[in-house]
């Protein structure tokens, strides 16, 4: 332990902490900008300056380790003035059109200027060069707002191992972006949006598509249907000042109806449908491998996360056959709304307008993929992020917190608890096991409260083995088989796992991959800023939602069963193949 004094109060902290972390323990909030807890501490922005006795210059507290007897002063005139000047200088080159900025009232730079008491802009200078990058479906960039904090570079490189972004050039001309300041479409960007999730200002954001949705809602010739992903219900409340992890499923449904959507459906429904298709696909692959001794691609990887899909297309195209051919729940819902549901209404696919609310920026790209036109038109017309929906609810003048709860519409609004947990890392695996194990053995999954705890939680790579015993006759070939599973989140962890598989150091039957840290609850389109603490709260909310339901297994979803009976036939049947499955294409790695 280290003893030091912070603002004249003695404190004992663990060795190896930074002064910033020690101050946090002492209950002192040091302003930061480039710092990201546990991810980036580089002392680049100089906002977290403190004074240390005996040290000539002020130091950046995020990179200064504590030492015995250190005397830290965090709040004196010199420190306050220095921090103020640092932010004033940042503002001097920053594009300051706050009123029309996407991040107005949700901007760390704006907040800092306010908190530090900046009342006038004393420095006038050259502004950062404005280059707008509109090359991506999911993301837009504006270099004039960038403050070169490098948060996006670190998440893109260290967390996602995609490395699309890096500081280019130097000095005042430094821009953050792809090689030679080109657009994102020239590189292997997978549009996960983690850059947008950590950007403190308005330099990287999702493409705003709220106007397209208002236009559809205003169009009397369109039947406008909305689906909401499982992760939205545990985060949307944050857009209205509610605590992270507040479940707002019922309020969200009411709000969507008030906004004018003709039907409010649940991506949970199609998550259950995914389990039926993907579970059957896995069991079919296992039968081919174990009984027919066919050469079949194992492990099978989940395919719900569009950033992950693009990652595979760019970096591991030889393993594309390992991806489940199942479309993501979003796309399954789109295909069902514009075929099955449209037929029920007596409408044509082109008269339907499908809006998705997703915690994700890559979903915007996924919806626009050429393969996603099973109904004859684009199956999902517009994807909104959680943040965009929050803005629309505000624009509609709805007092969100005061809303009554309501239920989603039948038939595609019914979802199981297994579908809820699609929102977090380990959830798709657990949902699949709840169904597959019961299908194969006729018994419930033998875990406490149905939770596969070895693959839950925020560890990056999680593994488990389940020995299958007491199989029903149809699945007797699985008797005694030990199913090896793995769950990873973040593309960096996915890459590590793939390299281990390729090196022969690990082998699995089934692997769940989610692109974003913590899974969809930590997606690139969620309210900012998502820390591990926020992730844990959202995950707890999702598990609570699951546990609060009687319906907790995908195969018990009656609406899904009815869909098979009335329309699809059987899982992996002809129509399923046509509407619910897809293919992947190798993309040139640039």
């Amino acid at each position: 332990m280290i003893n030091l004094t912070i603002d004249n109060s003695p404190i004992e902290v663990a060795e190896g902490l930074s002064v910033l972390e020690a101050c946090k323990q002492a209950g002192i909030k040091i302003p930061t900008l480039c710092y990201l807890e546990k991810i980036q501490a580089i002392g680049a922005c100089r906002v977290c300056l403190v004074e240390i006795e005996g040290v000539h210059d002020l130091v950046a507290s995020c990179v200064m380790p504590v030492s015995e007897g250190m005397k830290v002063s965090t709040n004196n005139r010199r420190v306050r003035e220095a921090r103020k000047v640092v932010v004033e200088l940042l503002l001097s080159e920053h594009d300051g059109d706050c009123q029309t900025c996407d991040r107005n009232e949700d901007c760390e730079l704006q907040n800092l200027a306010h908190d530090l008491g900046i009342k006038e802009l004393r420095y006038e200078g050259e502004k950062a060069l404005r280059c707008k990058d509109n090359s991506m479906v999911g993301l837009v960039r504006d270099s004039a707002k960038c403050i070169s904090c490098r948060r996006c570079v670190t998440v893109c490189t260290a967390i996602q191992s995609v490395s699309a972004l890096f500081p280019q050039s130097r000095g005042f001309k430094t821009t953050i972006g792809p090689a030679f300041a080109q657009n994102l479409d020239t590189v292997t960007c997978v549009q996960c949006g983690q850059c947008a999730a950590v950007c403190p200002v308005g330099a990287i954001s999702e493409r705003d598509q709220t106007d397209e949705v208002w236009a559809a809602l205003d169009d009397p010739t369109k039947t406008v249907v909305v689906q909401t992903a499982p992760a939205i219900r545990a985060a949307l409340g944050e857009c209205f000042g509610m605590e992270p992890g507040t479940l707002v499923t019922g309020k969200m449904t009411t709000a969507l109806r008030r906004m004018g959507f003709d039907a409010v459906f649940d991506t949970n429904f199609s998550a259950d449908l995914t389990i039926m298709e993907e579970g059957t696909e896995l069991l079919t692959r296992l039968k081919k491998a174990l009984v027919d001794k066919e050469d079949v691609a194992l492990p099978m990887f989940t395919s719900c996360s569009p950033g992950w899909i693009q990652f595979m297309e760019y970096f591991y195209p030889d393993m594309l056959p390992n991806l489940s051919t199942c479309k993501s729940p979003q796309q399954m819902m789109g295909a069902m709304v514009k075929t099955y549901y449209a037929q029920k209404l007596g409408k044509k696919p082109e008269e339907m307008f499908m809006v998705s609310v997703m915690p994700c920026t890559a979903k915007k790209f996924e919806a626009a993929r050429a393969e996603m036109n099973s109904s004859g038109v684009q199956d999902v017309d517009v994807v909104l992020t959680t943040r965009e929906l929050g803005k629309m609810i505000t624009q509609a003048g709805i007092d969100f917190q005061a809303l009554e709860d309501s239920e989603m519409d039948a038939p595609l609004g019914l979802g199981s608890g297994a579908a809820d947990i699609f929102a977090n890392t380990g959830g798709v695996m657990e949902a699949a096991l709840r169904t597959a194990y019961e299908l194969v053995t006729g018994r419930e999954l033998p875990f406490d409260n149905l939770h596969v705890t070895p693959v839950a939680g925020l560890d990056g790579i999680k593994e488990a083995e389940i020995t299958i015993e007491g199989t029903v006759p149809a699945w007797s070939f699985l008797e005694g088989v030990t199913a090896k599973i793995a769950v990873v989140h973040t593309l960096g962890n996915a890459r590590k796992l793939i390299e281990r598989i390729r090196a022969g150091e690990a082998s699995y039957h089934f692997v769940e991959v989610m692109t974003c840290p913590g899974g969809c609850i930590g997606g690139g389109g969620q309210p900012r800023i998502t820390t591990d603490e926020v992730r844990k709260k959202r995950i707890a909310a999702i598990y609570a939602e699951d546990e609060g339901k009687t319906l907790r297994k995908s195969h018990e979803n009656e609406a899904v069963a009815k869909l098979y009976e009335d329309f699809l036939g059987a899982p992996l049947g002809h129509l399923s193949h046509e509407l619910l499955h897809t293919k992947y294409t190798e993309k040139e790695r640039v």
């Binding site: 490395s163 890096f166 090689a179 590189v187």
Partner: protein, 173 residues
């Protein structure tokens, strides 16, 4: 590595590109497990090709298993690296602090006027390229310029013609 630092004129090289790429592959093989290998490889590559064309940079990124964005970022950071073909003689004017306060800017203006080109450009006869640099580590000799590997000290704007003269002669020889 010293041969790699020499600036070669792309225009007058008779070695075909395939041969240069083979040489680059040998260099990449040598440096691929060296975590600090990027900058030496870039220096050698620039020596080989005269500049750093895009296909070479992509090749280096693949060979060293580094993101192309990072390779480009490093190239863009150091003024010694050029992604454009350059003239036979590269004139670099130091605008580091010492050179700047001792008149580096005036030296640069004089060079621009004399050569009739701006920073980053090459004369029509491909004899000179003009670049700006930050500190050669020759602050005691400020203002300094480098022409190829030669450092010229205490350069006076009025005497630029004389400084450049030998490099015209070389071409004539």
């Amino acid at each position: 590595m010293s041969d790699g630092l020499k600036t070669t004129c792309a225009g007058c090289s008779d070695v075909d590109e395939q041969e240069l790429m083979t040489r680059l592959d040998e260099v990449l093989e040598e440096y691929k497990d060296n975590s600090g290998g990027l900058i030496p490889v870039l220096q050698i590559a620039q020596g080989l090709f005269g500049y750093l064309p895009e296909n070479v940079l992509r090749h280096i990124a693949t060979g060293l298993n580094k993101p192309y964005s990072e390779v480009a970022g490093v190239v863009g950071f150091y003024s010694f690296f050029s992604t454009q073909p350059r003239g036979k003689n590269v004139v670099r004017v130091c605008l580091g602090t010492a050179c700047y306060v001792r008149g580096g800017k005036q030296v640069l203006d004089s060079l621009k006027k004399e050569l009739g080109i701006d920073v980053g450009e090459t004369t029509a006869d491909k004899n000179f390229s003009l670049e700006v640099a930050r500190c050669f580590g020759a602050c005691g000799l400020a203002p300094a310029i480098m022409i190829n590997d030669d450092v010229h000290q205490r350069v006076k704007p009025a005497r630029i013609k004389q400084v450049l003269a030998p490099y015209y002669e070389k071409e004539d020889a």
